[in-house]
C-alpha cells in the first residue's frame, strides 16, 4: 500500500533551479526544461514542477487558482465553494500534452478569481488573508480537491514524474515569465499523489527546496499556532508557511527572515556591531521555534523577486550566477551553463547568507 503525502513523512533529496530577470523582461519556460534536464540524476521520477511569475499579465489583478480534482463530482463541489466566495473571472482546463511518461493525471483546472466583495467585507479579513483562508478551507475540507497555486500573475505546474517530462506535459514552453523556479524530486518513498510534488505555494509565495530539515516538527508545531495547518508533512510546506507568516503577516523583509530561519550562530552575533547584534538577538529569541536546522537549500519566489538561502552549515549545494539583468540559482552549475554559457559572475553563497534578488522598482 502506498501512502499519500500527509499520511506519512517522506524525506527527499532534490535538484532546484531558479532564474529571474530583474528588468522584468519575460522569457520562455523552455529554458527551464532544458536546464533541469541536466540534473536528471538528482531526481528519481517521483516528482517535478515549476513556478512561473509574470505568466498571466492579462489577468494580473486576479488570484490564479490551479486545482487538482480526483473526479468531476469533487470539481462541482469545489466550484460551488469558489462561486460562493469569489467572482470567477475565467476558468479553464490547464492545457496539457498526453505523454507516456506522465500517468494517472487528475483533473487539472485553473480559475482567475476576485474575492466576493460582500463576503470579503463580512469576513473582516484583509484580501490576502481571505484568499489564504479559502485555500486552507478547500484543501482541508473538500476531499479530493487540492489548490496547489493561488497567487496573482503566477502559477505552479507540478506532477509525479521527472521535471523535464512535467514541463513538457504542461507545455511550459508556451508560458513566458520574468521568473521561474524548478524542482526535481528524489523522495525516499513512493508518493502516488501529485499534490505532494513541488514547488509548494501559497498566495504568490512559492518554495522549492532541497534537503531534509531536522527541525521539522518544532517548526510545524509552532506555525500551526498561527492559523496554518500542515497537511502534507513536507519540509517545503512548512517553510512556505513560515515565509508567508514572517513576510506577509509580520512584515519582516527577507534579510530579517533569513536571520530567523537560518539565524547566525550566537558566537557570530556577539561580534556584530551593536545595532545589528541587538536586532539579530531579538529576532532569534522572538522567533526561536522558526529556526530551521538540518540541510536545506531553498529558492523562494514571490511577487517582488526571488530569494535563495542555504542552511547555516551549508549542508546542501547551491550556486548563484549573474548575466546582465538575469540571476540564476541552481543546485549544480551545469544547469545554469545550459541556459547561459557565458556568465558575468558565479559564486557559492555562504551558509545562512540570503541572496535576495529584487525586481526593479520593488522593495523586498
Amino acid at each position: 500500500m502506498h501512502f499519500k503525502e500527509g499520511e506519512v513523512r517522506i524525506p527527499s533529496g532534490c535538484a532546484i533551479l531558479g532564474v529571474i530577470d530583474k528588468s522584468r523582461k519575460r522569457f520562455s519556460g523552455e529554458d527551464m526544461i532544458r536546464a533541469i534536464t541536466v540534473m536528471h540524476e538528482r531526481g528519481n521520477g517521483l516528482g517535478g514542477g515549476f513556478a512561473g511569475y509574470g505568466i498571466y499579465p492579462e489577468y494580473k489583478d486576479y488570484y490564479a487558482f490551479h486545482v487538482f480534482y480526483d473526479d468531476a463530482s469533487i470539481k462541482k463541489q469545489c466550484e460551488l465553494f469558489l462561486d460562493e466566495h469569489f467572482d470567477i473571472i475565467n476558468l479553464s482546463k490547464i492545457p496539457t500534452r498526453k505523454m507516456s511518461e506522465i500517468k494517472d493525471e487528475p483533473l487539472i483546472w485553473r480559475y482567475f478569481l476576485a474575492p466576493h466583495p460582500t463576503k470579503l467585507k463580512s469576513s473582516q479579513l484583509d484580501e490576502r488573508e481571505f484568499v489564504a483562508k479559502s485555500v486552507f478551507k478547500i484543501n482541508t475540507t473538500i476531499k479530493g480537491a487540492y489548490v496547489f497555486s493561488s497567487g496573482k500573475n503566477m502559477g505552479v505546474f507540478k506532477a509525479v514524474g521527472y521535471p523535464e517530462d512535467v514541463g513538457r506535459f504542461y507545455k511550459l514552453e508556451e508560458y513566458e515569465g520574468y521568473c521561474f523556479t524548478a524542482h526535481g524530486r528524489y523522495p525516499t518513498n513512493t508518493p502516488g499523489w501529485w499534490g505532494g510534488a513541488h514547488p509548494f505555494a501559497l498566495l504568490d509565495y512559492s518554495v522549492v527546496h532541497n534537503g531534509e530539515i531536522s527541525s521539522y516538527d518544532a517548526n510545524r508545531r509552532c506555525i500551526e499556532m498561527y492559523g496554518y495547518k500542515c497537511t502534507l508533512l513536507t519540509d517545503t510546506e512548512v517553510i512556505t508557511y513560515i515565509v508567508d507568516y514572517l513576510h506577509r503577516k509580520k512584515g519582516l523583509d527577507f534579510k530579517e527572515i533569513a536571520s530567523v530561519i537560518a539565524a547566525p550562530f550566537w558566537n557570530t552575533i556577539v561580534n556584530y556591531p551593536d545595532e545589528e547584534r541587538k536586532k539579530c538577538e531579538y529576532l532569534r529569541n522572538a522567533f526561536a521555534s522558526l529556526l530551521i536546522t538540518g540541510p536545506f537549500s531553498i529558492i523562494i519566489g514571490c511577487q517582488d523577486g526571488m530569494v535563495a538561502l542555504n542552511d547555516r552549515l551549508k549542508l546542501r549545494p547551491m550556486v548563484v550566477a549573474e548575466k546582465g539583468d538575469k540571476v540564476f540559482v541552481s543546485t549544480e552549475e551545469c544547469a545554469i551553463r545550459v541556459i547561459e554559457p557565458n556568465l558575468d559572475r558565479i559564486w557559492a553563497p555562504k551558509g545562512g547568507e540570503a541572496v535576495i534578488i529584487k525586481l526593479e522598482d520593488e522593495r523586498l
Binding site: R9, P11, S12, G13, T188, G211, E212, S214, S215, Y216, D217, A218, N219, R221, C222, E224, M225, Y226, K250, G251, L252, E256, A263, F265, W266, N267, E275, K278, K279, E281, Y282, L283, R284, N285, A286, F287, A288, S289, L291, I292, T293, G294, P295, R312, L313, L315
Partner: protein, 499 residues
C-alpha cells in the same frame, strides 16, 4: 518493645577493619561504636539510614550495607513495608514522614521514550567540528514587530533569562539545605551561566554577590521576602505547589531555625516555619494575577515572574490560567520531585508524572495559541542528559534539577533529610556536619556534571542533525515510545517505535 527490624545491616569485614574509628566519628546517627575491651567496632543497625558515609570514608573498605534477609511471612497484599508503616504509626500516632522524591514503582515515561538519529537522508553533525548551540532565553516571547520612524525593529523585550544550557537548579531553601550547599549551587550557577533558586528560605546576605544567577522564591510563608531580596534577583518565582507534596504546605521545625537561618527567614529563632498549604491571599486565579503584578510593580517590570505548580490532574487548565495571569514562565513539578520533608502518603500517591503533564500542557497552550507567551520549565524528576533531551523534545524550554544536583554534591539518596542529620553536610544545619561539604569541591562537581551533560546533549542533538536546541523544542517527531499503549502515546503526542 520495638516491632521494627532494621531494613539494612552494616556488614563489617573485621579482618580488614583497623579500628581507626573513622566510621564512629563520621556517623551522626551513632551507628558505630568502639568496644575497647575487644578492640573491635560494633554497629547498631537500628540507627542506620544507609547513607554510605561510613562506607565511603572507611580507608580499608571494611564496610558495606546489605539489605536484611529478615522477612515477614510472604504476602502479596500485606508487604513488609506496609506492615512496618502500621507498626510505626501504631507506636507514634503520627504522620509518616519521608524525604526526596517518590521511590515507588510507577512508570517512568522517560525510560519508555527513545530518541532519533540521522541516517543517509540527512547528515548527522559532529559537535567537535561544528558549532552546536545550547543557549536559550526564557521569558514571554512576542511576535509583534514594532518599528521606529526609521523602520528599524524596536528590540526591547519583556525581561528574559539568558542560559548557556537549559538547566537550572531547582528551589531548595536555606534551612532545608545547608549554607555550604547553597554556596556550591550559587557558585556553580554563576560559573555555568545558569540559575539556582533560593527556595522559600530567603537569600543569605553572603550570597547577594551571586544574585545575577539567582531566582528568588515567594512562597506561602513569605519567609525572607523584602524589597532588596526581590530587586536583587534575576527572576522571582511564586511557589504555588511542589511535586512531592501537592496541596500541602511546609514545616521547618524550630530546631533548624537558628542563627543565620532565622535571620534570613526573618522569623524568631526556635519558632517553627510553617508555610500554609495555600497562599492565603490567593484563593483563586484572579488573585494569582494580583500577586504576579504586585511583584512586577515592586521590581519595576524588570524581573520575569515564574509560577511554580505541582503536576496534578487538572494541570493543563491551571497552566492555561497561569499564562493568562501574566506569568513569564511556568515551572511544573512532577510527582517524583524531591523534598526535604513530606508526608509519605502524599509524596507517594498525589500528583502525576511530569512527562504526561508536560506533554499535555505544551499541547494545550499551543491549541490555545498562547504557548509563546510563556516558557515552560519542568522538574521532578530529571536524572540525566537524555531525560533533558526528551523533555525538551516533548516541549519544555528548560529543566529544573534538584535531586541530581544534590547527588552530584554527595547525596546518597538515603531519604532522611527530615532528620536534619545529613552526614554529607547537605540537608543539615549542624555546624560539624555542614563543614563536611566543601563548597570549592561541591561547586566543581556540579560544574562537572552539567558540563558532562552538555557534551552528551550536543552529541544527541548532532546525531539528530540539529545544531541548535531551539530546533529540538517541541520536536516530538524525534521521539518514539516503546511499550506504551495508545492512550499514553496520544497524551505524549508521539508515535510508537517502528511507526
Amino acid at each position: 518493645m520495638n516491632y521494627i527490624y532494621p531494613e539494612y545491616e552494616v556488614v563489617r569485614n573485621h579482618s580488614r577493619c583497623i579500628t581507626c574509628r573513622a566510621c564512629e566519628n563520621q556517623c551522626a546517627n551513632n551507628v558505630h561504636s568502639y568496644v575497647e575491651c575487644e578492640n573491635r567496632m560494633e554497629s547498631n543497625d537500628d540507627a542506620c539510614v544507609n547513607c554510605h558515609r561510613c562506607v565511603t570514608i572507611c580507608p580499608t573498605r571494611a564496610l558495606k550495607i546489605a539489605k536484611t534477609d529478615h522477612v515477614f511471612r510472604e504476602n502479596a497484599n500485606w508487604t513488609g513495608k506496609t506492615i512496618n508503616e502500621i507498626y510505626k504509626q501504631a507506636q507514634s500516632g503520627g504522620v509518616l514522614l519521608s524525604s526526596m522524591g517518590n521511590p515507588e514503582n510507577y512508570p517512568v515515561y522517560f525510560d519508555k521514550i527513545l530518541i532519533n538519529a540521522s541516517q543517509v537522508t540527512n547528515p548527522s553533525i559532529d559537535p567537535l567540528r561544528e558549532p552546536m548551540e545550547t543557549r536559550v532565553f526564557l521569558g514571554s516571547k512576542s511576535h509583534d514587530i514594532v518599528r521606529d520612524a526609521a523602520g528599524k525593529i524596536v528590540t526591547e523585550t519583556t525581561p528574559q533569562l539568558d542560559l548557556s544550557i537549559p538547566v537550572m537548579f531547582s528551589a531548595m531553601s536555606y534551612g532545608s539545605i545547608s549554607y555550604n550547599a547553597h554556596e556550591s549551587l550559587a557558585k556553580a550557577a554563576q560559573k555555568l551561566g545558569i540559575y539556582y533558586n533560593t527556595g522559600e528560605g530567603g537569600l543569605h546576605e553572603d550570597f547577594y554577590k551571586y544574585s545575577k544567577n539567582t531566582i528568588v522564591q515567594v512562597a506561602s510563608g513569605r519567609f525572607g521576602v523584602h524589597k532588596d531580596y526581590l530587586t536583587a534577583a534575576a527572576a522571582i518565582e511564586i511557589k504555588m505547589g511542589q511535586g512531592a507534596k501537592p496541596g500541602i504546605g511546609g514545616h521547618l521545625p524550630g530546631t533548624k531555625i537558628i542563627g543565620d537561618v532565622s535571620r534570613t527567614r526573618m522569623i524568631p529563632e526556635g519558632s517553627d516555619a510553617i508555610s500554609p498549604a495555600p497562599h492565603h491571599d490567593i484563593y483563586s486565579i484572579e488573585d494569582l494575577r494580583q500577586l504576579v503584578f504586585s511583584l512586577k510593580e515592586a521590581t519595576d517590570y524588570k524581573k520575569p515572574v515564574i509560577v511554580k505548580i505541582a503536576a496534578v490532574h487538572n494541570v493543563t487548565a491551571i497552566a492555561s490560567g497561569v499564562v493568562r495571569s501574566g506569568a513569564d514562565m511556568i515551572a511544573i513539578d512532577g510527582f517524583r520531585g524531591g523534598t526535604g520533608a513530606a508526608p509519605t502518603k502524599i509524596r507517594d500517591n498525589v500528583g502525576i508524572p511530569i512527562e504526561l503533564a508536560l506533554a499535555s500542557v505544551d499541547k494545550r497552550l499551543r491549541d490555545e495559541g498562547i504557548r509563546d507567551k510563556v516558557s515552560l520549565i519542568v522538574g521532578g524528576s530529571i536524572r540525566s542528559s537524555s531525560d533533558i533531551v526528551k523533555a525538551i523534545a516533548l516541549g519544555a524550554d528548560c529543566v529544573y534539577i534538584g535531586s541530581a544536583a544534590l547527588i552530584a554534591m554527595g547525596c546518597h539518596l538515603c531519604r532522611n533529610c527530615q532528620s536534619g542529620k545529613c552526614n554529607w553536610g547537605i540537608a543539615t544545619q549542624m555546624p560539624e556536619l555542614v563543614k563536611r561539604l566543601n563548597p570549592a569541591i561541591a561547586y566543581q562537581r556540579l560544574v562537572n556534571l552539567i558540563s558532562a551533560w552538555r557534551h552528551e546533549i550536543k552529541e544527541m542533538m548532532g546525531g539528530m542533525g540539529i545544531n541548535s536546541i531551539e530546533s529540538l523544542k517541541g520536536n516530538r517527531l524525534m521521539l518514539r515510545g516503546v511499550g506504551l499503549n495508545e492512550k499514553e502515546l496520544s497524551i505524549l503526542g508521539i508515535y510508537h517505535a517502528g511507526e
